[in-house]
Amino acid sequence: MEQKNYKPVIGLEVHIELSTKSKLFCGCHADHFAKKPNTQVCPVCLGLPGALPLINREAVESVIKFGLALGCSINMFSKFDRKHYFYADLPKGYQISQYDLPVCGSGKFRVNIRRIHLEEDTGKLVHETVDGVKSSLIDFNRSSVPLMEMVTEPEFHDGRSVIDFLKEVQLVARYLGISNADMEKGSMRLEANISLSRDGTIPDYKVEIKNINSFRFLEKAIRAEVIRQEKLLADGEKIVQETRGYDEVKQTTFSQRTKEEAHDYRYFPEPDLPPMRFSESQILPPMRFSESQITDLKSQIPELPEEKRKRFKEEYNLPEDFAEILVSDRKRPDYFEEAVKLGKGQTFSAKTIADLMVNKKMDANYPEPGGLIKKILELTGVEYATQSETEVAVSEVIGENHKAVQDFQNGKGEVVGFLIGMVQKKLKGTGNTQMVREKLLGKLENG
């Protein structure tokens, strides 16, 4: 085998289903998860003859917010297009999507983002045995639910950074409140385009890995596909441009569709939906966003995970992993900060609160931060040594450790840790660190 000197070139396509109240083009409920089949449908999302789409403004706003959060430009002129293909879960024979003028243009979020567009989801095929006959049934509850698709430039070179990126994207969607982005509910779907390059340039082929429903599987699939391609290239073979799936059992990718079978989607501008304009100066109806409305959307973007992690580490002195774990949930950071606010002036630190949340998951037991704080106070009240016990112990330790006291007075601040340890030993660990430190320092500094 030839020497392994290929560099993976990976680009991503991420679909995120939006959690808007109603569907993208009609008034039906968008939340379709685990609902009785075909109970959230109307002429529009069933694609009945004569029905017409009407754009849901909330969905467009969600995409704009997501784009702004990911540093993308907002296209001042955006339109919908029809993407034609035949499948039983696509009732109109075309999907309303965006071809050349998506809502969001390029941006930068760890890697370069190519675009973010808005489209409608399809129905769902359900395979069941009905009256003893194997049947394929169609559930249209999901039909026309808003879906946004983000496409990155092919700038990833390993599976790990792909997963890190995707997790962050998932978190951003949750922070913005535009989607639950749950992989297991299909609200977030991943596709990776993988090719291998010898010199870092983008190769003339790509293999699309599709239908992956977890981060873990995607990482494994990428690994498996890279190995497969390396082998082929090493054997001097040309890699076929195709779509492949991932077989978890065999831990390999398998061919689903080759280029010859690729669709000609026959895109053309959706005549039923006038273009959208994002500008103050245009007054063409009906979907229009003024500059001030865009600014308003911008102001609705909360602190994003990356900034929050940084701030938690600086402001509360939290270790990396505490910040990471707290921020990786949409609600816990607010809970944490509320608890810190309530616990201010008490003997325990913000880090203690974080510790109880991260390691003991105590926030799960107390829906309100106030409850958690009360509990901490109860615990500390019972367990900690009293002020006088602490004072006695401190005096004893100072009396018994002349050398350390000497060192401290000679400027060796680090001996404080040792002395605190000694006090705790005397108190059998019931000392309140904060109090011990204060008393100790007071005694040492004032003689």
Partner: protein
Amino acid sequence: MDLPLTIKETQKGLIEKKFSAVELTDSYLERINKYNKEYNIFLTVSEEDAYKKAKEIDKSEKKLPLAGVVTGYKDIFMTKGIRTTAGSKVLEGYIPPYSATAVKRIEEAGGITLGKLNCDAWAHGSSGENSDFGPTKNPWNRGCTPGGSSSGSGAALSANMCLVTTGTDTCGSIRLPANYGYLVSLKPTYGAVSRYGVIAMASSLDSVGPLGHTVGDVETVFNVIKGGDGHDSTVVDHEAQAIKSKYKIGIPKEFFVDGIDPEIQKTIDEAVKIFKSEGVEFKEVSLPSTKYAISCYYIIQPAEVSSNLGRFDGIRYGNSREAFGDEAKRRIMLGTYVLSSGYYEAYYLTAMKVRTKICQETEKVFGEVDAMIAPVAPTPPFNLGEKTSDPLSMYLTDIYAATANLSGIPSLAIPSGFSKKGLPLGFQLMGPRFSENNLFDLGKKYHDAISFEPKVALK
């Protein structure tokens, strides 16, 4: 009873209790029973619904704009609970769960739904001969086409089977049946009337509009159906334009060239004279790209048709794709081809550019004049079977229609008289976007001047 031929007379009769809405319904149904077999106008008669509504009208004290107006709908309008076929075997047994906005509004305004009218399958055609349920015959002459694609919508009025009808106009399909039936009809501004619930032919060209016996009736129905409905994003609520005190009408020179039938030329010349005597000025104008309009239309339209018919994939609606007729298949293939990758730029994109050019030219003309006068079709009603073997010559029937659809402007078809053979003649008046009011005003001026009386064909 002698059926009244206008909304005004109908409502006068109802108020004065000369007849009831139920009696009106009886009389129309009588005529349907007498003539429909021969003329093939109604595909579905909704007798029960009609009587139910008629009884309500008779009991009601409410003053509604269309109270007691017996209406037939082109069978491309969704009617809740009443079979809707689009003239195609594909939807032979389809009963829609909802009604089109236009239907709903007419019914809410007091209209009595009598049934569904024959048309070219999917509205593809100019003669009604593409209907999978057989062609409609022209009540003025059984051997002639009543004009398509809203063939039943025209013939139902000529045969006096109802008082007003609706149609759709993608390239003349409302205007031609009016022209071939001694009727008035309006192809409204694109975006004036909601298309919701009307089976799409070519979405960027389709207009929904009324047919009636007089300008006033068409105006009344238009005022009922126009305006946004929260379903069709292309509808614009537009304030009615003020009626002008003085008009200048353009004569587009490209429309009056070789090939125009002498009787049509003559009737338009006479109309111009009458307008002039009413103080209207005339001016020759030019639409240089007219010669490309049909080619442009026959790319954009099949492209959208191929997309819109994709949903009839054989999985739903009962019948398989085999049930599509030849014309629909022809358009699906043409449209699929012009949208295919590698051909899109050469065909669809080029056609869209030509369309923009045509729009600019009409806009320029309306900087100079308030309206344009033109023939509706090159000839009076032609014989059934005359053009069926030659789709291209059939397509050329649309030559005067395409401009209004491609540029989204309104056009009013107006009857002017009869040919030597006793076939209806007329012309169209096109105006700038949302100038319907002025077109109605011009139409009424002309009809007042010639003391126009509505006429029906069958005794």
